[in-house]
């Protein structure tokens, strides 16, 4: 068998999280208007200032052109064909604890390998589960409260901690930052909120699990994490969606604030439905993720992206404070007709700031995988340093990898290093494995995992294993 045929088999595997949950939902008819925004805001019992904030975002958004510069091709999204709010009916009267949550919903998460009942949970990981537009529950709340950590849905935070939300919401990603962030600011429905008090090391990993269930809905979650001075938190998000023929829109905003001396480690394992072999269906993932690091603070993004029909995503760090550190570790796998345009921006403002970028792109099938990175050294960024390493791995010869590094340096003492490689899973490597008795499917997943090792070691232990498995599943196919 030729190795192309071998690879084809291996990459033609099924999406395991593609089932739909049958729950009755309250879903707003498609379309976007000020009334829709008022409806969402009222549904959530939001204060006046937040409604105004949303409306202002909406008015600005309507005037913004959709970006076209990314290395992506897709039919224009009809923003009036999307429903902007969907909530399971059983969530109408918010359950007070997980025991009151619809078992059908809990089951969904269990099937996905995310049990929400605390006794079944991964030890040491607190989870917030977001189903379509609402959070259905957060685990380990009491234990976290003891440490003074706030971890809840953003809707709840608006009610319980309005002063924190008001102070930081939009402080990192302004509401008219870009087209998708603008849309999100207008219609965001739920997401997670985290606050770590001064000097506190969060006693467990925090994690949010996003699930899009309803057809024709968009998911616009908003996550805000504030780490106060000298604190530490490690946060993980996971995502899946049912398998559908239509494309679904996911336009999230994540804002991170690392106050002086704080450290935020944000990891993503993204497995949205990627669409089928011919590019039918799948999630459009247009996400704005950004963090601000103050003096001596550190923000580290680690992402493993295997899903979505289209990914447009550049987790960024603004290194505002002196001696602040930004890191970006990424694995992006594309197969079938998937398109990914992802990378990062490291904006060095402070002195002695340091950033590291390690990007691993894997392309298979007819997919296209682009890395786009910006490193900007501002006029005050004395002795700022960046190191970038971009490696691409091609499986087969019908896919593509592209690297677009942008460097802007306004300070003579700043140093920027860039290394890039492109390689193929060579026939020699595959043959060595097979000659040792290893079947091609296992061999490819082993080689790909090896390629990603530098990134996987940045993930929290439990999730590194998960990520490895996810790659394996994404690459799996019936080799007969």
């Amino acid at each position: 068998m030729s190795s192309q045929a071998e690879l084809d088999k291996v990459i033609r595997s099924e999406y395991e999280a593609g089932f739909t949950t049958l729950v009755e939902s309250d879903t707003l008819p498609p379309g976007l208007s000020e009334d829709v925004i008022r409806f969402i805001s009222a549904k959530k019992g939001e204060p006046e200032w937040l409604l105004e904030w949303r409306l202002e975002a909406y008015r600005k958004w309507r005037e913004m052109p959709e970006p076209e510069w990314a290395h992506l091709h897709y039919p224009k999204v009809d923003y009036d064909a999307i429903s902007y709010y969907s909530a399971p009916k059983s969530m109408e009267d918010r359950p007070k604890s997980l025991d009151e949550v619809d078992p059908e919903l809990l089951d969904t998460y269990k099937k996905l390998g995310i049990p929400l009942h605390e006794q079944e949970m991964l030890a040491g990981v607190a989870v917030d589960a977001v189903f379509d537009s609402v959070s259905i529950g957060t685990t380990f709340k009491e234990k976290l409260a003891e440490a003074g950590v706030i971890f809840c849905s953003i809707s709840e935070a608006v009610q319980e901690h309005p002063e924190l939300v008001r102070q930081y919401l939009g402080s990192v990603v302004p509401k008219s930052d870009n087209f998708f962030a603008g849309l999100n600011s207008a219609v965001f429905t739920d997401g997670s909120f985290v606050y770590i008090p001064k000097g506190v090391r969060c006693p467990m990993e925090l994690s949010t699990y996003f699930r899009i269930n309803e057809a024709n809905t968009g998911q616009f979650e908003r996550t805000l994490i504030v780490a106060d001075e000298g604190s530490y938190v490690s946060y993980l998000e996971g995502c899946t969606a049912p398998q559908r023929d239509e494309n679904q829109l996911h336009a999230a905003v994540v804002e991170l604030v690392a106050l002086p001396g704080a450290e935020i480690k944000y990891s993503t394992v993204q497995n949205w439905y990627p669409g089928d072999e011919d590019g039918k269906g799948g999630i459009y993932n247009f996400v704005t993720k950004r963090g601000v690091a103050h003096d001596h603070a550190k923000i580290s993004w680690t992402q493993v992206e295997t899903g979505s029909a289209i990914t447009w995503k550049y987790p960024s760090v603004v290194l505002r404070g002196d001696h602040s550190v930004g890191e970006f570790y990424s694995v992006a796998l594309t197969r079938h007709a998937q398109q990914a345009d992802t990378g990062t921006k490291m904006i060095h403002l402070g002195k002695n700031t340091k950033s590291t970028i390690v990007s691993k792109g894997i392309s298979a099938g007819k997919s296209s995988n682009a890395y786009r990175g910006l490193v900007r050294m501002g006029p005050r960024a004395e002795n700022a340093r960046n190191f970038t390493q971009c490696d691409s791995l091609l499986l087969g010869d019908r896919c593509g990898a592209h690297t677009f590094p942008y460097i802007e340096s306004k300070h003579p003492s700043a140093t920027v290093e860039h290394e890039a490689t492109t390689s193929k899973v060579s026939d020699d490597q595959l043959f060595l494995c097979r000659q040792r008795g290893i079947d091609p499917e296992k061999a490819i997943s082993m080689i790909v995992n090896g390629f990603c090792k530098e990134v996987f070691k940045e993930l929290p232990m439990e999730f590194a294993v998960e990520a490895g498995k996810l790659l394996e599943v994404s690459l799996e196919g019936a080799v007969g």
Partner: protein, 251 residues
């Protein structure tokens, strides 16, 4: 146990093996010599089932299996082991991880008991010691940044663990210093057994001083043109190949 009859093979459509016969019985060590480009590596690759190495005529039978009908991994599971002339690197995949996957697959197929991780680690350390590789090599990526000689020893280390039925060693001696050569020879000799066949491809008599073959064959232009005992290798050392191929020896 290995029966090659009138084997014809092509690489990317180009005929390389042109009617090759070879029989290896259990317990025997065969040395295959011959000029550059005569088809030695091709033979090894054809037997192991590399892509684009196509059998166009004749047969190769290992313990009753027609090799042409087996996928490469099935041949390995049937006990065929190839120590590569140029071992390839697999960055990020540790030697240990690789061995574990290989041994699991092969031992399972052969109905042998599975080794738990403690046993595996112990055996792997022993094998490393046998070929004079530090146990640290188990943690490094497969051949990643290994020196030429280390790669060759790493192949032998794997072979010791895999306990093959038929071992093909393609120029395992090239690029080894004299100590390493003896180490490798000791490793190979430790595998000599009445149950196992060994085929050595080499250019040098030197290796055959340490691993004394039962049979020596000369391969030229895709055919075995002369076979003999260990003395044939000595004769070749002195006279080169010219007197056999009818051409002047160029080197």
């Amino acid at each position: 146990m290995l029966e090659i009859r009138d084997l014809h093979a092509a690489v990317n459509g180009k005929a390389i093996l042109k009617g090759l016969d070879l029989t290896v019985n259990p317990g025997e060590v065969h040395a295959i010599m011959g000029p550059n480009g005569s088809g030695k590596s091709t033979l090894a690759n054809v037997l192991a089932g590399r892509d684009n190495y196509e059998i166009t005529g004749g047969q190769a039978i290992l313990d009753g299996h027609d090799l042409a009908e087996l996928e490469p991994e099935e041949r390995a599971q049937a006990g065929l082991f190839l120590a590569f002339q140029y071992p390839v690197e697999i960055p990020g995949v540790s030697n240990m991880e690789f061995l574990k996957a290989a041994l699991e697959a092969v031992r399972k197929a052969q109905g042998k008991e599975e080794w738990d991780s403690v046993t595996l680690l112990r055996k792997a350390r022993e094998a490393c010691k046998q070929v004079n590789l530090d146990a640290q090599f188990l943690k490094r990526g497969v051949n990643e940044g290994f020196s030429g000689g280390e790669k060759k020893r790493n192949e032998i280390m794997q072979m010791l663990l895999m306990e093959p039925r038929l071992a093909l060693l393609d120029e395992t001696d090239s690029g080894l210093d004299i100590d390493a050569l003896q180490t490798v020879a000791r490793g190979v000799n430790s595998l000599r057994s009445p149950e196992r066949g060994i085929v050595l491809v080499t250019h040098y008599q030197r290796l055959l001083d340490y691993i004394v073959p039962d049979h020596v064959h000369v391969l030229s232009d895709g055919r075995i043109i002369k076979s003999g005992g260990k003395e044939l290798a000595l004769e070749l050392e002195q006279k080169g190949y010219g007197w056999l191929t009818g051409e002047e020896e160029s080197a």
